[in-house]
Amino acid sequence: MQTQTTTGDYIVEMVGITKRFPGIIANEDVTIRIRKGEIYALLGENGAGKSTLMSMLFGMYEPDEGEIFIRGKKEKITSPSYAASLNIGMVHQHFKLVSNYTIAQNIILGAEPTKKLLGFIPIVDEAKANREIAEISRQYGLEVDPTAVIEDVNVSTRQRVEILKMLYRNAEILIFDEPTAVLTPQEIDSLLGIIRALRDGGKTIILITHKLEEIRQVADRCAILRRGKLIDVRDVPGMDAREMAALMVGHEVQLTAEKSAAKFGDPVLEVSHLVVENEEHFQTVRDVSFTVHAGEIFSIAGVSGNGQTEIADAVAGRLKAKSGTIRLHGQDITNMSIRQRTLAGISYIPEDRQQVGLILDFTLRDNLGLKDYHKEPFQKSGMLNQPVFEENSEKLIDGYDIRSANRGSTMVRSMSGGNQQKAIIGREIEQDASLCIFVQPTRGLDIGAIENIHRQIIAERDKGKAVLLISLELDEVTELSDTIAVIYSGAFGRIAPAEDYTTSMLGEYMMGVAKDNAKNGGGNE
């Protein structure tokens, strides 16, 4: 191995990096060299080792083998604060902000500018902080209101705050781990614009993403990882999506799922005049009515935070309906418990996989049995039947390609984000429920896995299930749906067959610009 080749060209060099976890090699002899001022993308399947590789650059753990050079100088990056001193910054997929602090306070936290009161008492110089933040925001087009409190601002603003935090600390090397997974298409466009502006301002950017289109739009070069190994590094211009996908998973992938015409059956879910309030008595869902039939994929499209997850929670029983009725197969389930609804035939992939969908400190095996443990044969007269848990977990791990270090015995907390998601998807699809509620089912999944899941969702529909799909991903909505409802500010702007929309129409309804008082879908009532 040639190690000592450090030319001035490269700002970051990770040479021969190997990282092992008990039972798995997350990175195996990976060498990447990143030039100053480029956007370098990392592409790879779920569990390929992207987050692990970047975590080593950011000092969250140390490589077992290999060396890291920053600006040609060999460095042992032992902690995130040391990484920060090398001008490395990272935006994590799950933001780390203090929710009751203002934006400015969050940005300066830990690096506060101080001034001396009465000449000797050090205090935080908020005025100076605000000035500096305003300056940086202007420079890179990251508008924020420094005095707004974090809990009142939306996801994309929070992300800007995370970016500002890095810039405020003079980061030169910026790592983004799946930054677009939580954003709407418009927000993604603006983020990509920001990333470009940062590069043009001389910053070096490392971007982890599963979306090939984004790589095509902004990246200069792209490294492809597969099962911990570096497969190739390519110049992005001149590369096509199909080729990238094939390199990533190791074989050809089909980029769009094939779908036959829908055959609607009887109504499965009938929601009428549903109203949901939050704790402050604000109506998050206002008088929503719709019907989902057997054999139908019914999507709710909308900008995040417009009440779509509340609808899902209300149908699944996690939130109480203020008024209105919810019927499943004609039976009123409005006041049933979650368990009763599950037994009546509802499965649910919730939006938040880590807080809601999984118990991170349980094993994968126990998590995969989370919805079934109370049924026979998982239990018999109150005693758990471990072999059945094991069998179930083996089946799902293979069926849904859930990758982890020690199969069923892995603690879910240690699994990669995408594989955690696959665990929930597998568990819920296998529920064999007549109504499947899928919220952001493919968030954080690689394209191979997405296609696989899309095929499964369509297969479920063809088996005569009713699917309620909630997704921020417009492509996903248009590709899968038979019927689309567009939600804006808690109410449906329109319910119509998917063919009746154009992309720009969807956008208008989502922004609340267009509105035709939605009739109940499917013509019931």
Binding site: F21, P22, S51, T52, S55, M60, Y61, E62, T78, S79, P80, H92, Q93, H94, K96, G317, R318, K320, N335, S337, I338, R339, T342, Y348, P350, Q354, Q355, V356, G357, L358, I359, L360, D361, F362, D366, L370, K371, Y373, H374, Q379, G382, M383, L384, Q386, S409, T410, M411, R413, S414, G417
Partner: protein
């Protein structure tokens, strides 16, 4: 997983550290620490003393040690069951007292035959503890009252009301304690003569060992245990999975209370035969440290309670042999308890160290994440925001 092994190593380290601290203290006081520690073993009947009083021997000391050990096993199990559900039962002493008192006045003074009285004492003790525990769980579920606060308050209520009744109705004018219960109701057989020695045989010890096995099975193998642990590890996800979180918390506190009740009767109607008014026994509080040292695991608890009780029991003999003031001995026992309670903290420290090497800090703590300390910190720091929300 090597989770358990790591924890065991840390627990052993905590104990060694505490013994070391005790050694330093004794050296400062000019005592021989090795002799002193040997005295602990002698006092608990684990090593022979130089001389014995009439009808006493190492074996009689041992049986009285086991008698002393028994309530602690129950109490630590009570703590563990709650802890696994993410609850902190700090009211074990109060629950012990209620159980002991009710069993004393109903059965202890009744003159029923032994065959009837002993099972009844056990049943009444369990039921009384269970009722108090369930009440705490219910208050949490229904009114969102933090279980730590309500159990501390109930401790006081139990202590003073029961003192009132003892002092007005059941007091023994000489001892200023409640009158001794009849031998038939007592769970420890007194002065059983075997081979010229007089033993006290703690019948409840058998029950304590059985309770360990049952709790272990309950936690590891049953639907109930799965639900309780799910609630303890992530309430939101447990609710999402259809588990009735509020009900689980009540059930967990009821079981915990029942175990505390057993601790109460084996203490007040076993090791002792009367109740001292206006005192809450320290067993209930020490059991928290015992539970932590045993990593909230029934088998671990069997070991940790043994250890702590050897020290507690042997300390009287140690102080008389070494001429140490009993206060100093209490300081040493206190140190040991302190270090064992800290073992959870050490665990956290080791885990976060390992994380620095191994794990992404944002979302993972690796497979070493230990539920017990997490539960403690959660229980201690938890503001009242968590709802026992339940869907009817």
């Amino acid at each position: 997983m090597n989770n358990g092994r790591l924890y065991r190593r840390i627990a052993v380290a905590a104990v060694l550290l505490s013994l070391l601290a005790g050694t330093v203290l004794m050296l400062i006081l000019g005592k021989n620490p090795f002799l002193a520690y040997y005295n602990l073993l002698q006092g608990s009947g684990l090593a022979p003393k130089a001389k014995y009083a009439a009808a006493r021997s190492m074996w009689t000391d041992l049986s009285s040690f086991i008698d002393f050990w028994t309530p602690m096993i129950f109490a630590a199990l009570a703590c563990a069951v709650a802890m696994k559900t993410g609850l902190f039962n700090i009211g074990i002493s109060g629950q012990m007292l209620v159980a002991g008192f009710l069993a004393t006045i109903t059965i202890g003074y009744s003159g029923l035959s032994a065959y009837l009285a002993k099972p009844l004492v056990i049943l009444i003790g369990m039921a009384a503890g269970m009722a108090v525990g369930a009440l705490i769980g219910f208050l949490k579920y229904r009114f969102n009252i933090n279980e730590v606060v309500s159990s501390i308050m109930l401790n006081y209520i139990a202590e003073y009301i029961i003192s009132f009744f003892i002092q007005t109705r059941f007091v023994d004018p000489v001892s200023r304690q409640s009158k001794n219960i009849g031998a038939a109701a007592r769970l420890t057989l007194q002065d059983v003569a075997i081979g010229g020695y007089k033993f006290s045989i703690p019948l409840a010890f058998v029950l304590a060992v059985i309770a360990c096995v049952l709790v272990k099975i309950m936690l590891d193998r049953t639907v109930l245990g799965y639900e309780l642990k799910a609630v303890g590890a992530n309430r939101t996800a447990a609710g999402y999975a259809g588990i009735r979180v509020g009900r689980s918390m009540i059930v967990s506190m009821a079981i915990s209370g029942a175990l505390a009740g057993l601790a109460g009767v084996s203490y007040y109607l076993g090791y002792f035969a009367s109740i001292q008014p206006k005192v809450l026994v320290s067993t209930g509080f020490d059991s928290i440290a015992v539970c932590l040292l045993g990593s909230s695991d029934p088998v671990g608890i069997l070991f940790s309670s043994f250890l702590i009780q050897v020290i507690a029991k042997g300390s009287t003999y140690m102080s008389s042999q070494q001429g140490l003031e009993s206060e100093i001995v209490s300081v040493i026992t206190g140190l040991i308890l302190l270090f064992s309670a800290c073992s959870a903290f050490f665990m956290g420290l080791v885990v976060s160290r390992k994380n620095a090497k191994n794990n992404t800090k944002d979302l993972r703590f690796g497979d070493e994440a230990e539920t017990a300390p997490a539960a403690v910190t959660a229980a201690v720091n938890r503001p009242a925001e968590d709802k026992g929300g339940e869907e009817a």
